[in-house]
């Protein structure tokens, strides 16, 4: 019962903050709402006996993502900062969101598997699994992170690439800038 109350509270928080993310007109508020959502989701994880995941959630999202998001917000257009507008297809967006919600809800309601009692995974089991059976995907995921970091660095760094006049082969300088 307590869990139900806690879940209701957290679910309300998740959804409320989630709506805040997508509805608020202030970018900073949106970032804050996102933070709230993420933390609330972490709470849900705890309720679902996935403490490790909750930890990961708070650390990675709460830490990394939100900071990066805020960092990016700093760089965006100041005059829009507090008064972002949504694009004109908002009504259609509502319809689409409701449609997907309807489909999902219908699916959830229609398919009712035999539910076991709530049980968490041991951290030990999780770690073992992750580093044995999922070792390869894990390594690949690290490659993904590497590529993402590298890419972020490559794309975001300032400075220009080699000037055209330094072409070694003396080809006629093409127009169009090398798309």
């Amino acid at each position: 019962m307590a869990s139900l109350v806690a879940f209701s509270f957290l679910a309300a928080l998740v959804l409320g903050a989630g709506l805040g993310v997508v509805l608020t007109r202030n970018v900073a508020y949106a970032a804050l709402f996102l933070l709230v959502t993420l933390v609330a989701v972490a709470g849900i994880f705890i309720l679902a006996l996935a403490e490790f995941l909750a930890l990961v959630q708070v650390l990675i999202y709460g830490g990394a993502i939100v900071i990066v998001v805020i960092f990016a917000l700093m760089l965006t257009r100041i005059e829009e900062f507090s008064r972002v507008r949504d694009n004109p297809q908002k009504p259609l967006a509502v319809v689409a969101a409701l449609a997907i919600l309807g489909v999902l809800t219908a699916a959830f309601l229609q398919f009712r598997p035999a539910v076991a009692t709530l049980r968490g995974a041991s951290l030990e089991g999780l770690g073992k699994e992750l580093f044995t059976r999922w070792a390869i995907p894990f390594e690949v995921a690290s490659l993904v992170l590497l590529v993402a970091l590298l890419g972020a660095f490559l794309i975001a760094r300032t400075g220009v690439d080699r000037d055209r006049d330094r072409d070694r082969d003396g080809d006629a300088p093409p127009e169009g800038g090398g798309r």
């Binding site: 999902l104 590298l150 169009g176 090398g178």
Partner: protein, 486 residues
């Protein structure tokens, strides 16, 4: 670790190692030496290609309870990706030399994406497939926005990455639903669940649908396709080639294994849907392509149309259709690489990617015009180029699966496509050149083009070795001919 044989992942490991080597070399080398990196990358890839074929030939095993498959199917695609990578690396050479200070970064990321593609073809499980797919996708996001100071490249990057993330979310949600419905994510578990399914498992159905949508985005199937023209147009030309060829082949490798090993038992539920998507995709792609003036955008819509044809092979899922689909991938890849390399060669000289800029090319460079014409005729499906043979095979297989109407739509579509391919050929051969100076190509380009032209002709005239190899690969994903064999 029990039952694990890392040795079988040597190709992936080697490509990764090559990528790191290229990164490192770039940092250590002085600028003029960096021009060697293209050769290092290409030679390394060729070496790995040979090694892979020799080392893995005929192996048929799975790793980690079916997370990975080392079989003829994955071997075929590994070799395929390596060949694509060699061509893309070689065709990027001039672009890299002209615009980039650190070629190692470019080639390194390219090589990482190859690892992702190879893993996609080998993955027997949704999460692994997803991770491998993201490795490929991230590399492509980066490559697409590589021309950092070009607004169009930026635009391509932002559209690609945001929509890619969005579609990933759909895909992941689908995976989560499948996990919920089946309790596992391996393809064969899904197949097992589908076969044992009584009544409607809505969770599974919606899950599959979302997975389909997510992967549909990756292959640019209508209505998940709209990013493609913008990204093609915005990305640097060699990257466009890579996106058009590599990512599509990889995505279809994944789709084919997923459908054959996972979704096949529910074929009656999705066959018409996939068929409809195929029809919609090819028709939309071709009709919109009719109105294009930019060669990259034209090829973007054309490749959307080709995705439509490829989806037919999926809809007609059978060993024959899968052979047809893979043969089509081969033909599509070699032809599209040819047309892109032609466009790259032209762009390197002229810096233009408008179709009208090609006017009078036949007089300026008969070789380039001839190669391009061969590629375009092949794309249109005319004989004795690859396009004819692979289309004939795939359409036959589709008809065999009882989808003659779909084959009919496809054939009609290839007629429509002929129109815009002819428009390009008309520019090259019939319209006069605005500046009739001869256009000379560097010899590596000529060599590359020659090889590709020969490839297009080879597949078109003597496809049997390729088909034999593909049939061996097909057997791996259709164990014992799960579906009725014609």
């Amino acid at each position: 670790m029990p039952g694990v044989n890392f040795n079988l992942l040597w190709p992936q490991l080697l490509v990764t190692a090559l990528a790191f080597a290229v990164f490192g070399a770039d940092l250590l080398m002085r600028r003029p030496q960096r021009a060697l990196l293209v050769w290092i990358s290409a030679a390394g890839l060729v070496g790995i290609f040979v090694f892979t074929l020799v080392y893995l030939w005929g192996r048929n095993t799975t790793l980690y309870d079916g997370i990975f498959h080392i079989d003829n199917f994955s071997l075929f695609f590994s070799a395929f990706f390596l060949v694509i990578a060699v061509v893309v690396v070689l065709s990027s050479a001039q672009y890299v030399r002209q615009y980039l200070t650190h070629p190692g970064e470019y080639y390194g990321i390219l090589l990482f994406s190859i690892v992702g593609m190879m893993l996609m073809a080998a993955a027997g499980e949704l999460l692994t497939a997803y991770v491998a797919l993201e490795l490929l996708s991230f590399s492509l996001y980066i490559l697409a926005s590589y021309a950092r100071n070009e607004p169009k490249s930026n635009e391509a990057g932002i559209k690609y990455v945001l929509l890619g993330a969005f579609s990933s979310a759909l895909l992941l949600y689908g995976i989560s639903l499948i996990y919920g419905a089946v309790g596992a994510t391996r393809f064969q578990d899904i197949a097992l669940a589908l076969r044992g399914m009584e009544g409607v498992n809505s969770l599974l159905v919606v899950g599959i649908a979302l997975v389909l949508a997510g992967l549909g985005f990756k292959v640019a199937a209508v209505p998940f396709h709209m990013w493609a023209p913008d990204v093609y147009e915005g990305a640097p030309m060699p990257v466009t080639a890579y996106i058009a060829v590599g990512s599509k082949v990889a995505a279809f490798a994944l789709l084919l294994r997923l459908f054959a090993e996972g979704f096949a038992p529910a074929i009656d539920q999705w066959r018409l849907l996939v068929a409809a998507l195929a029809a919609l995709t090819m028709t939309t792609g071709n009709l919109v392509a009719l109105t294009q003036t930019n060669i990259k955008r034209l090829l973007a819509y054309s490749s959307i149309a080709h995705v439509g044809y490829l989806l037919m092979g999926l809809a007609a899922l059978s060993p024959l259709a899968s052979t047809g689909l893979m043969l089509y991938l081969v033909g599509y890849a070699v032809t599209n690489m040819l047309v892109f390399v032609c466009a790259i060669a032209f762009y390197n000289r002229e810096g233009k990617d408008e179709i009208s800029a090609l006017s009078g090319l036949a007089g300026r460079s008969p070789f380039l015009a001839g190669a391009m014409a061969a590629a375009l005729f092949s794309l249109a499906g005319l004989p004795f180029f690859a396009g004819f043979t692979v289309k004939f095979y795939l359409f036959s297989a589709t008809a065999k699966a009882g989808l003659l109407w779909l084959a009919g739509i496809a054939i009609t579509n290839s007629l429509i496509s002929l129109y815009y391919y002819l428009m390009v050929i008309k520019q090259m051969y019939i319209n006069p050149a605005s500046q009739p100076t001869p256009l000379r190509l560097p010899w590596p380009m000529v060599a590359l083009l020659s090889v590709l032209v020969l490839g297009v002709l080879f597949v078109g005239i003597y496809p049997r070795p390729v088909v034999d190899a593909i049939q061996a690969a097909t057997q791996a994903i259709f164990p014992g001919g799960m579906l009725s064999t014609p």
